[in-house]
């Protein structure tokens, strides 16, 4: 099923004690179909890059001897995707210890979540959570936001490159902000956060006035710039924007209202529900990074066609209408002429391409979809000179796929970041639909044993699948996250298409319910797949069918 082994393009130098140094940093991808920028047709050409910089592109390039060649004949090359606002690789810093005289009505800024001096670079690790997942989805550059409270700190633009490199492109690119209050102290709610934001902003302005007066006039009392004021100065002076996390239209309006009040530069990140504020976004000139996700269709799929009342049917229709509208939002943003980018905050890496395809099916043009992944975020982030398109002199960041990128069949085979090549598995499609079906869908019913590998270690359990009419049902056992042995849960949305089995089950952990998605390829009695757990990432999973049901 899988291509045997990886096609590895990195040959390792033998004199390097770590054995990791590349033998060359010059590569040529020959005779590939290159889509240099959104809207441009693909052209057959060879792409040459060295030390992470594109040094040539064309049909008849003369290639240097040291260039390692990658045959690109069947490959499609796109500019590397850029993530406008991300939490990939970010680990939340520990909460500082509360002082002895702590009063929850007037907490120190650091404890109340007001930490504009913090930098995302201090919280970022290239080997951290989800970096590889997003890279695998084609993302080469991310503006990462620090984790924290209402003003967690400054964002940084990172290249999702080699783990041995320093991967910062630019620090202090924006001030991250959101409407989440502090727990059990002031400001605890969105109303308190907005009031506190005004306070912080106004007092930074005044502290700067004070400092200017002190610098120019004798006899003025010494200014006392707090770390908050010092770190907010770049926003007040218009050097960097505030990147407000705003999922809903009301949050977007609240952020834009603050922007109008104070005049800072504003970027909205993570917009999920924004149809009604498109005009406002446009008229206010706000830059937007919409969430790279579409709503799940569970509520739609669970609608029953019979034995429901008229009233229920009417409610179904409204949910369906809301769902259809939500899918169309991106295309409406395009029609309004707003050059938006994407944010991966709270989105799932494994569903990114599917989300894009859904948006395209609902009216977004492929050109704009690609622009939202490349040139638009490059402009919003101010890195358009070096990133966003495939051009001589720009960074060697590419997404290389087996087909035109938005096609359902397309698979990402390589992602080039900073001139480093990352290889990914390409699965051969079963010949379904070509008249040559491989004996119908795989047999999946029966009792399976599975093993999964997560950062917490190896774990496993039993999976039972039965066929009930045309539907599959079953149960799965898993290790209880709260440490109480094994738990059995029903599985749902079981589907088998060709050799691919997918299903879901819900885990409740710490009062939260998480949906676990399992996808696997079946070969005989074995399944090789992945388990993706909400936003926590994807993990390998293997399973073996011990006692196939006799009924099939």
């Amino acid at each position: 099923m899988l291509i045997s082994g990886f096609l590895s393009h990195a040959a390792w130098s033998q004199s390097d004690p770590t054995g990791k140094r590349r033998i060359t940093d010059t590569y040529a991808i020959t005779n590939a179909t290159i889509f240099a920028s959104p809207g441009q047709p693909g052209t057959k050409a060879t792409l040459l890059f060295r030390e992470g910089v594109i040094i040539g592109m064309g049909p008849n390039l003369s290639l240097p001897k040291e260039a390692q060649l990658i045959a690109g004949d069947s490959l499609f090359i796109y500019p590397g995707f850029i993530d406008g606002a991300s939490s990939a690789g970010i680990t939340k810093p520990k909460d500082p210890e509360r002082p002895k005289d702590f009063v929850s009505s007037n907490p120190p800024d650091e404890i109340a979540g007001i930490t504009p001096w913090r930098s995302a670079t201090d919280q970022f690790s290239i080997t951290g959570n989800q970096v590889d997942d997003w890279r695998k989805a084609g993302f080469t550059i991310s503006q990462v936001l620090p984790d924290g409270g209402m003003i967690p700190g400054k964002a940084a633009i990172m290249i999702l490159g080699n783990s041995g490199s320093v991967n910062v492109i630019q620090e202090n690119t924006a001030l991250a902000a959101n409407f989440s209050g502090a727990r059990g102290m002031y400001p605890a709610t969105a109303a308190g956060v907005i009031a506190k934001f005004r306070d912080v902003y106004q007092n930074t302005t005044l502290a700067l006035d004070h400092s200017r007066l002190f610098a120019s006039t004798a006899g003025v009392k010494r200014p006392e710039m707090t770390p908050t004021h010092t770190a907010m100065a770049a926003v007040v002076q218009g050097q960097i924007p505030v990147i407000f996390k705003a999922e809903t239209e009301l949050e977007a309006r609240r952020a834009i209202a603050l922007q109008k009040e104070f005049g800072f530069k504003l970027v909205l990140a993570g917009l999920d529900n924004y149809e009604n504020v498109i005009d406002l976004i446009k008229s206010s000139g706000t830059a937007v990074l919409i969430k790279l996700q579409v709503p799940d269709d569970k509520a739609i799929k669970n609608q029953k066609s019979d034995s429901v009342t008229t009233a229920t049917k009417a409610q179904y229709a409204r949910v369906k209408e809301a769902y259809d509208k939500a899918l169309k939002q991106a295309s409406l943003l395009e029609k309004a002429g707003v050059p938006f980018g994407f944010s991966t905050l709270d989105a799932k890496p494994g569903d990114a391409m599917k989300a894009l395809r859904t948006m395209i099916k609902n009216g977004l043009t492929e050109k704009t979809a690609l622009a939202a992944l490349t040139t638009n975020p490059a402009t919003i982030l101010g890195i358009g000179k070096t990133a966003g398109t495939i051009e001589k002199g720009k960074m060697a960041n590419f997404v290389i796929s087996t087909d035109s990128i938005f096609k359902e069949e397309a698979q990402i085979k390589h992602v080039v970041v900073d001139g480093y090549i990352f290889d990914y598995e390409v699965k051969k499609k079963s010949a379904n639909g070509n008249g040559k079906t491989e004996n119908g869908p795989a047999a999946i019913t029966g009792q399976w044993d599975y093993t999964s590998q997560t950062p917490a270690g190896s774990s496993g359990g039993e999976l039972i699948i039965a066929k009930n009419g045309v539907e599959y049902t079953g149960t799965i056992t898993y290790t209880d996250p709260s440490g109480n042995g094994k738990v059995t849960a029903p599985i749902k949305n079981v589907s088998v298409s060709g050799k691919t089995l997918t299903f879901q089950f819900d885990v409740s952990a710490g009062g939260m319910s998480l949906t676990v998605d399992i996808t696997g390829e079946i070969t005989g009695n074995a399944m090789d797949g992945t388990m993706s757990v909400g936003q926590f990432g994807s993990f390998p999973l293997t399973a073996k069918l011990n006692s196939p049901s006799l009924s099939l």
Partner: protein
């Protein structure tokens, strides 16, 4: 042709909305109603003409100008839109309960125009509600006066922009429980509440002085004065002292009511309304003399210690002592039948029809500082109107149509089941929250258990 006119009107209306960023204003002629003006008596078989959202004429045999819709209200009652002086409908956040004074917090920042409670209130004839901060703090946040323009997407379109600023205060058990018992800080007792108020106002005086000194100095040559720290909390208290904001104070006991009257007198504050005011009947003459009155429940008490000494005659006693008195809901449920709540003042206290109706119209309008604009049917006022089948104080009355600025937002004959403005794309059945607002700050102390228990079984009033 009629259809075409409607389409044109809709287009023109929309056009106006976009170009002027104004809220919609309607034109309508309501014919042959029994008009309960509240301030100018009852008028039989009378017509009310509304143009551009304003009541233009009240009289007999009025004819509709071209393009103005006529509604026949024969046999029906027309009264001013009901005003609820105490509500938390359409707020995403009610309590910033984290500090004894949070006057810098603004409810206008967290208005949610999609909340279904607005429509339900319209169905009960309520056109204006006072969306208040909660009662966890001695000085809570600044409130928002809302006009129930259902269907608006921009929160600022349901905020009554021409209403004066108001702010929430709270005395007694709530602030002492949350801050004193819950957090071990002042106020732990009613004495502490008074201290928080006096200290707050005294600081505000200093604050204001600091800025005045700086503002005078800063333009002068060789100035060395530096700007004081900006503090909207104190600035807001200073604005109260300057008479720019009306205080609406959660209160129950007579002693604490009288305490706040004294504090107000000491600081020269005259714009003061008491909310709940269950023991208001004991200090009714004082309330009448020194304040803008009291906004009370018709008959709700005994849900905590400080609310046991209560009577359903409270509103009538306050009213007959000359205090401006209104009946409020403080509840997304009661707001749907405030006319019924007002009628209880006739059963308990024998108020006249006009007095009872004033409790939910002109009196709350006075307390919100908007009585020059709404609260009665008078030429020149904003056309917030309700048509009732049956007298609104009758037990059998049913609201038929509700207008805000002459625009019909509720019509019992055109009332589809699903009135939601916002439907989730991912929820099959939207979660229903029985308790949309509570003033609980945290769940770490014993109170939380008490409150959780109480919250589970009865709806707590503020």
């Amino acid at each position: 042709m009629k259809k075409l006119n409607l389409i044109l009107a809709a287009l023109l209306g929309l056009g106006l909305n976009y170009s002027n960023a104004q809220t919609q204003k309607g034109n309508v002629l309501i014919k042959n109603a029994t008009v309960l003006t509240v301030t100018k008596g009852n008028l039989e078989n009378t017509d009310v003409l509304v143009q551009n959202g304003i009541i233009r004429q009240v009289g007999k045999n009025l004819s509709a100008p071209a393009g103005v819709e006529t509604i026949d209200a024969s046999g029906k009652y027309l009264m001013p839109g009901i005003i609820d002086a105490h509500s938390h409908v359409a707020l995403d956040v009610v309590n910033e309960a984290s500090s004894p004074i949070t006057s810098e917090v603004r409810m206008k920042d967290v208005v949610n125009p999609f909340e279904i409670g607005i429509y339900r209130a319209l169905a009960g004839g309520v056109t204006i509600s006072h969306a208040m901060h909660g009662s966890a703090n001695v000085v809570g946040g600044q409130n928002a006066t809302l006009k129930h323009r259902w269907g608006a997407k921009d929160p600022s379109d349901i905020i009554m922009q021409d209403a004066p600023r108001t702010i929430k205060f709270a005395l007694g058990e709530n602030p002492t429980r949350v801050h004193g018992r819950g957090n071990g800080i002042q106020p732990r007792t009613r004495m502490g509440v008074e201290a928080v108020l006096r200290n707050g106002f005294n600081e505000a005086i200093q604050y204001k002085k600091g800025w005045e000194t700086y503002n005078t100095a800063k333009g002068q040559k060789g100035n060395t004065k530096t700007p004081p720290v900006y503090n909207e909390r104190l600035q807001t208290l200073a604005d109260i002292l300057d008479g720019k904001i009306i205080i609406h104070c959660h209160s129950y006991r007579a002693d604490e009511i009288y305490m706040l009257i004294n504090v107000a007198k000491d600081f020269g504050i005259t714009k003061l309304v008491f909310q709940h005011t269950n023991e208001g009947f004991k200090v009714a003459p004082e309330i009448a003399q020194y304040t803008m009155g009291a906004s009370v429940f018709a008959d709700w008490w005994a849900y905590k210690m400080e609310v046991y000494y209560s009577t359903a005659f409270n509103a009538a006693i306050l009213q007959r002592n000359g205090a401006i008195t209104s009946i409020n809901s403080d509840s997304a449920e009661l707001i749907r039948h405030l006319y019924h709540e007002a009628a209880k003042t006739q059963r308990y206290g024998g108020l006249t029809d006009e007095e009872a109706l004033a409790m939910i119209t002109i009196n709350p309008a006075k307390q919100l500082g908007i009585d020059d604009k709404v609260g009665s049917i008078e030429v020149g006022k904003q056309a917030d109107l309700v048509i009732f089948e049956g007298h609104p104080l009758s037990s059998y009355t049913v609201p038929q149509m509700t207008f805000v600025d002459g625009v019909k937002y509720f019509d019992i004959k055109a009332d589809p089941d699903d009135q939601r403005q916002f439907v989730s794309a991912t929820e099959m059945v939207e979660p229903i929250f029985l308790h949309t607002h509570e003033n609980h700050q945290c769940l770490q102390d014993v109170d939380a258990y008490f409150e959780a228990f109480q919250g589970a079984f009865i709806e707590e009033k503020h």
